[in-house]
């Protein structure tokens, strides 16, 4: 007898039937679906066969993409065959050509760089000049040279969320009349249910870049999203993803739930207090796109810690952790403290 195997609509892993919940559950991303739901979702799913043009594009990608490997940190860097990668932009050690990429790593979409390197360097300089306690060589020309134009692999997810919210809200008002103080409390049953659609929540598929750093330079303007072409890679580097859809799904789920929660909470009026009994945001279906997004990236190693800095190559939004020269800060604070003590000592009569 053939057993029907259903794939998780969110992460594509095999679903298993859970006798307790009577639902099909994904052990990997923890999604769960009723039989009816999964049958409907599978019926809606496209089972398209790649057309000839798509096959050609995949072959072109495989032929013209070189993969470089950093033996120091393990990063895989890809660039087109007209460009040679010399160093790893994470750890700044030399990289070696390790071969070609297979077609599965070919992105669906790409957003091209709108900021050139000079603009990125200017933005970095403006950002860093406000921070006087960074190490001196963090601002050096040598360091500025390390700012690298990089296409970061992103999984962008469109999620359909079932929201279920149930709470008791209280509205309290009080007033005084005569010798008495009155407090009126009204309790409301607050119910919100519905479907919330989030589109294009991105999660980078590169484990070496801090996820929060990439989230902080969002959002990208998807209206400029184009079909991937090798020509976009010219002059820039690109990462090969090392975290697949299933790997990024927990992050996607968290962020989609946050977005859903915001919609629901925004729809609730002003209550004095809200006692929530049910608040669930279940992702029923996820559509994925694999895309390359432009990022100006720089890493800096200081006292055995790597500090990363990134600029959205499309919008110019900037994020990063500035390294702190603690010795410089301590000396400055000490000088400040001593200076204030001396001034106050003189003014306050500590010397005369």
């Amino acid at each position: 007898m053939d057993a029907a195997i259903y794939k998780c609509p969110n992460c594509n892993a095999d679903l298993k039937f859970d006798p307790v919940t009577q639902k099909l559950s994904c052990e990997y991303c923890l999604s769960s679906f009723t039989i009816d739901e999964i049958k409907k979702l599978c019926a809606d799913a496209e089972n398209s066969i790649p057309d000839q043009a798509a096959v050609q594009e995949q072959q072109e990608f495989e032929e013209h993409t070189n993969l470089y490997h950093c033996s120091s940190c393990g990063a895989d860097i890809m660039c087109d065959d007209r460009q040679t990668a010399l160093f790893c932009y994470y750890c700044h050690n030399p990289v070696i050509l390790s071969g070609k990429l297979t077609g599965e790593y070919k992105p669906d979409k790409v957003i091209g760089f709108k900021l050139n390197k000079d603009m990125a360097v200017d933005m970095f300089k403006r950002w860093v000049e406000k921070r006087m306690f960074v190490p001196r060589d963090f601002k050096s020309e040598q360091q500025l040279e390390k700012i690298t134009g990089l296409y970061v692999p992103f999984w962008a997810a469109d999620c359909s969320i079932n929201a279920d919210f149930n709470a008791v809200g209280k509205k309290v008002r009080s007033w005084t009349s005569g010798e008495y103080h009155y407090t009126e409390t009204k309790e409301f049953r607050v119910i919100r249910r519905g479907n919330i659609m989030v589109e294009g929540i991105p999660a980078d598929g590169e484990s070496k870049i801090d996820d929060l750093l990439m989230e902080s330079i969002e959002p990208f303007d998807y209206s400029e999203l184009k079909d991937f072409s090798m020509s976009y890679l010219s002059g820039f580097y690109a990462d090969k993803y090392d975290v697949d859809k299933a790997g990024v799904f927990p992050r996607i789920r968290t962020r989609a739930s946050q977005a859903g929660k915001k919609v629901v909470r925004d729809s609730i009026g002003s209550y004095t207090s809200l006692n929530v009994s049910v608040e669930q945001y279940n992702i029923m279906k996820t559509d994925w796109q694999y895309m390359m997004l432009p990022v100006w990236f720089m890493s800096y190693k200081y006292k055995d810690k790597v500090y990363e800095f990134a600029i959205n190559g499309q919008t110019g939004k900037l994020a990063g952790t500035p390294p702190l020269d603690r010795r410089k800060l301590r000396l400055t604070c000490l000088a400040l403290g001593v200076g204030i003590s001396l001034i106050l000592g003189f003014i306050g009569g500590g010397f005369i």
Binding site: T185, I340, G348, G350
Partner: protein, 317 residues
Amino acid sequence: MRRSGNVLLTIVLAIVALAGVLTLDTIIVNAFTTENLSAGYDGRSELSGLVDERGVFKEEPDTYASLQKRIRQCSENTELNILIFIAGDEHWGCSEAEIERYNDDLYDETFGEYTDGVGYYMDLSGQSPAHDDISVSGKAAVIIEEEQANGIFSALDHYLPKSGAGYGTGDIRDAVEVFCDKLESYHSEYKPSNYKYFHDKEAKTPVYVFVKDGETYVTTGRAPGSKFKRLLIAELIGTIVGLVTYIVTRKKYKFKNTANPSVYVAREKSALTERSDVLIRSYVTKHKISSSSGGSRGGFGGGGGHGGSHGHFGHSR
């Protein structure tokens, strides 16, 4: 293990830093010590006495002589110069400031500047209100402070006439004797502590009077204890400012996540199919407002001004 080692090191460093600061403060305080102007008490009690401008005891020379004797005895007992001036008609209409300046000048002319002593100006000029004044110099400034001065004025009020009223020589004699008694009493109660000091900030030449190791100092600079305390407060504020700057700056060097996933919501494709806020219960509670009564507190204050390196306590009758 390493963390506890760091904590221990921090504590040791803090203790060393504190010890260093205290040592430095001691050095600073000693380095900036100013000259001691105190002329002390030279033991010449014969200079002390009663100046009777009003002529109260003109007809009673024996009483006058006995009071002179009493005052000189008090001077020896207290090791303070004492001058009691009974103002007559010449000083009718003098303002408080003029009285204080006269009292200071008379004292300084009689005993010299920065000596240990007290000048009492007894206003019998007949003006209304009458204004008495106590001028303290040197060690007397730390023996007679506001509380003691008020004690003296209060005690003498029993004997001295009200403004414009007449007086009897017996009352004035008693007042002088009570003054001496009170002075001896305050002197015997007085326990010179190391850094008891009096700051005469309204004087022409402001001085600080303090007693250190039993010796009276009159200096243009503060007492070492006061300077030490002020330095410590300044250092504490400096330390707090330095620490706050350090903590705030460190926070600025932390990563800040500015992501906002709600920008990905497709509003046009999202819909809340069930959206209800149903009233399920309503109730009103009331409580009686308890009445409370409040009181008011009064305050009082006082002050005075003068023209010399003396402390002053004024009193109107």
